[in-house]
Homo-oligomer: 342 residues x 2
DNA sequence: TTGTAAGCGTTATCAT
DNA sequence: ATGATAACGCTTACAA
């Protein structure tokens, strides 16, 4: 920015005092006469002075900036997390610089570089679907750069994580389907390498077993991209094939559930009468589709807020807390709508 | 960030050369022996050197950072714009710092301050619903800070704007309804002070007039918040009241259309047979609801890309182009789905 | 109560 | 081909 912004130098010149006096007066340091303070502040106001955060950052080796790395803003869930992050960050005088990876590993490494070059004080990360190697993060953790992972968490030892209890969320969803009388429940699963995928899968299987050990039917359909087209195709195939068919679907994602719903409708299968359906994430559209979709709601804003609070704690303390004291698991909320009630 | 990042000083010390030599070698300046260049680069690599963008920013009075101000990331439309912005920005070596106003005027002024403090080189802005006074922007424009407004554009003279042709978008949508045989079309309108609202309203009225001047029916329902609850209530009232009722609705937004759809369904009114429905924005859910919603699609990513390209142009040229040469209006795309086809 | 000067990491200018 | 130095805007010992 080249606009002739006023600096403390300008104020100092104007008043014939030294730079340090101005600096101290603006910061309300002790040992400055009320008179000088007043004059400095007036002049600052008049010249429309704004402290230069860049200079500050260089001087203090702190940028008061948090880097946020997410797969994609268009995911409703992530956009709610961002809101939570910004809320807490700004309230504490921190800026947020946001980068999307577009689910690409290479992009993830590149935005990470950008963030480091910009001297972020800490990082909030939800990594890409492609990311299987976490060295780019572990290196930084070893250097004691504060990092909090949220939603998608890595399987590395000293990571600080904020997630929802995906196991329990899935467990509750499937148990609900069972209680509604569905017995042949299939699971439309997500990208394999993500912990959330594994957790939801485990919750699904566990619910089946716990409810009635004699239930023999289970089916896991891999839907790696997780978008509605893929799900649409897969579900269509399942119901067109001869043989035993599910009477309910639990999808790892509302998008996948929406695809499934369209597939079922296109085959003339009635929801929830013939096939029950539960999704995951409570996207905006879930309550608007027909029939309204039952889903597991994740507290997005709360995840963002919690992760940011923890990060702020890590950045401002020298003594490290134990990982156990910092990692947090939040509860999900099962929202029962028409698609699973018969 | 306090992690002992290597600086050019460290490299210089290691090789017993001066700072300037290192700086020049890294930048491939002429007048440095190939040998030194190689050695410097090797050492940089080995020490994991990363240029400090903050120092650079201070030195060059350029931050290579673009500030983006939007109402809310959770709006699907804005999230697509963001993707477009990031794409172009990163490709040109610029960072993006993103702030939401949450549709609040005060918040808008405060994030603007933050951005200025952080020495952004330029600004991409879509202002809040509450913003009626543009002084905070005009002041900066007068100081020659490059600003490009997108989607929501201010009525000020020297602004550079990127919008879609909302008039035409609305015009096409309403004309389509007329062609399908609907004759009593009502418009669910948005926040009054936005240009987009006025344009869509005008397009609606103009289409009615142009199609058949004898059409007497028109109805504009103000829906200032624009969310689906409000729309739901308003539409329900309209259809429950005695007297003449519309046979089609053109909503300024898919969310409002979704609310209308739910209202109609709850009253047992069939879409598209009894009442036709067209929305605006082509949100993800529009194709997934029942019946699929006809809508006017805005090229979100393209808006972001275009605005960013223009901004980059403004930032890198000293001679100012004429406003007319820089402001851009993009075309919308009418997507016809079942909700308006009878 | 106020001023001086060093330094954060980098580059541009002017030597050598 | 390389080095020394000032400067970007600010804070903070240390001096006065």
């Amino acid at each position: 920015m080249k606009l002739g912004q006023a600096t403390i130098k300008d104020i100092a010149k104007e008043l014939n005092v030294s730079l340090s006096t101005v600096s101290r007066a603006l910061k309300n340091y002790p040992g400055i006469s009320e008179d000088t303070k007043r004059k400095v502040k007036e002049t600052a106001e008049r010249l429309n002075y704004r402290p230069n955060a860049v200079a500050l950052s260089l001087r203090q080796s702190r940028s008061f900036t948090i880097g946020v790395i997410i797969p994609e803003v268009v995911h409703f869930f992530f956009s709610t997390v961002i809101s939570g992050i910004e809320e807490i960050a700004y309230a504490n005088g921190y800026n947020v610089i946001l980068c999307q990876t577009n689910e690409k590993y290479e992009r993830e490494k590149s935005v990470l570089d950008t963030m480091l070059a910009n001297q972020v004080d800490g990082l909030l990360v939800s990594f890409s679907k492609e990311t299987k190697d976490f060295e780019h993060f572990t290196k930084l953790i070893a250097l004691e750069l504060p990092i909090v992972f949220f939603d998608r968490i890595p399987e590395i030892d000293d990571a600080v994580n904020v997630t929802v209890n995906d196991f329990q969320g899935a467990y509750n969803a499937v148990t609900h389907l069972l209680q509604e009388g569905y017995r042949k429940i299939a699971h439309i699963s997500g990208p394999e390498n993500l912990t959330i995928t594994k957790q939801r899968k485990a919750g699904y299987l566990s619910a089946l077993k716990d409810f009635d050990p004699s239930i023999a039917y289970s089916l896991i359909v891999e839907c790696p991209s997780g978008n509605e087209e893929e799900s649409f195709q897969l579900v269509k195939e399942i119901f067109q094939q001869p043989g035993e068919k599910p009477d309910a679907l639990f999808a790892h994602h509302d998008m996948a559930a929406a695809g499934a719903m369209m597939a079922l409708k296109s085959l003339g299968i009635r929801i929830p009468d013939e096939v029950g359906l539960v999704g995951y994430s409570n996207w905006q559209f879930s309550s608007m589709i027909d029939p309204p979709l039952s889903t597991v709601s994740q507290p997005g804003a709360c995840i963002g807020e919690t992760a940011t609070k923890i990060l702020l704690g890590m950045m401002n303390k020298t003594g490290n807390l134990e990982k156990e004291q910092r990692s947090v698991v939040l509860d999900t909320d099962l929202i029962i709508r028409k698609s699973s009630k018969r």
